[in-house]
Subunit: 217 residues, 2 copies
DNA sequence: TAAATTTGTTAGACACAACTAACAATTTTA
DNA sequence: TAAAATTGTTAGTTGTGTCTAACAAATTTA
């Protein structure tokens, strides 16, 4: 069994591999807010447990075993978030920090029950896919809203960042998953975008459009 | 904030004070399956944090602060057990080891929500009182079934031991909270008791009758 | 290519929470 | 009350996961 610290490293490596392909000690250090020497020595430990491949000064990669263990923690995280929103009435902005703790609970029964009560959901409340119980995850190939062009009609399928502040900002603008919108204009100078949806017309910065994933309608 | 280890010590001291009044290093050591020198040094740490009173070779007691912190962990434990049984469909024999982990989750919102969804329950699935959010717990002074006499009619109000094995044993005999029974006979030699309830007539040992709490009807 | 910057490792320290071995105090029993 | 048993402490060790200081390698910039 892996420790709490090990589990958090695995999850972070998984996310960084997803974003950038390979992972440097430096990146992992910043992501986890843990100093490089600590990360470096943890990588030796994880390599020893055959969860990552790692040689000094070379990039880090999850092994297949490591990838599956990371995916199963992410599964617990996302099932929990979905359960908290759908069955307990929490807002999508409230659940991440609770799931960050519950993802480490050791109880296959608990997560199997959540899964069952939720009807075996494919996505979490932020639109991210929930890995199956063997660790398989269907990758989402949606595009960033920031990459869309004027005149396009799109539907929000996921958000990239799940911080309380970002999601509360979206709540304030009544922006949520499934929302359909038209791109009115795109400011070339700073990438800010004017969109319309329902009765709203809003201008949002590229900081926001970079964190929203959409599908073309 | 207290560590996981500290929280488990506080809970154990609380339970032992409840059972025996005062707590010896030895008892705590056995209860937690942690060697005495470790317990001894932890007591210094907890005394330093003003959670217990402790002097070498003297019995351990929780301070008022320690008592409240212990009660709040027990509150989280029992709310969780109740939630798992009432809202998720677990059996009363399945929930203790899950609650043992979830009791350490730091999220007032999560437990407030459980409490609300459950309608602010006073008792957990094993009949134990749930402390309120200020750490107050109404003690319930039921008597052990083993102390009852032949001919008495009683109702089961709580079970003392919440191990999977004990509760599964009770399930097998269709014994549950709220069950009313008549004491047919009591064997003086070994304390075994013959009881009848519904269509059942069973003889149960004193190991069992010691762990069942009842009220007189 | 040489210097500067960034990235990473090694070495040594520390806090926490566990352990064993040895010894000391307290309580029970003879 | 003396011996034995039980209970508890002290001292020193271990493993985990963090840190800082110092140094080394790799990459970027001049
Ligand atoms: Mn999340
Ligand atoms: Mn986590
Ligand atoms: Mn319990
Ligand atoms: Mn616990």
């Amino acid at each position: 069994m892996n420790t709490l610290a090990e589990e958090n490293y695995l999850k972070a490596i998984f996310a960084l591999m997803d974003e950038n392909g390979e992972v440097m000690v430096n990146e992992l250090s910043q992501r986890l807010a843990i100093k490089m020497p600590t990360v470096s020595s943890m990588m030796k430990k994880l390599a020893n447990k055959n969860l990552v491949t790692y040689e000094s000064y070379k990039p880090i990669r999850l092994t297949e075993k490591g990838r599956v263990e990371a995916a199963l923690i992410i599964r617990k995280h996302r099932l929990t978030e979905m359960y908290l929103v759908e069955k307990m009435g929490f807002g999508w902005e409230e659940v991440h920090h609770i799931a960050e703790q519950i993802e480490h609970i050791q109880s296959p029964e608990l997560f199997a029950k959540m899964d069952e009560l939720l009807g075996f959901p494919a996505l979490d409340p932020h639109g991210s896919p929930i890995p199956d119980s063997s660790g398989k995850m269907i990758p989402r190939e949606y595009q960033k809203l920031s990459h869309c062009k004027t005149g396009e009609k799109v539907k929000i399928t996921a958000v990239v960042n799940t911080s309380h502040e970002f999601l509360t900002f979206l709540n304030g603008k009544q922006i949520h998953l499934g929302l359909e919108m038209i791109i009115h204009s795109l400011e070339p100078f700073d990438g800010s975008m004017t969109i319309s949806y329902k009765e709203n017309k809003e201008t949002i910065s590229s900081v926001v459009t970079d964190r929203i994933l959409v599908e073309q309608l």
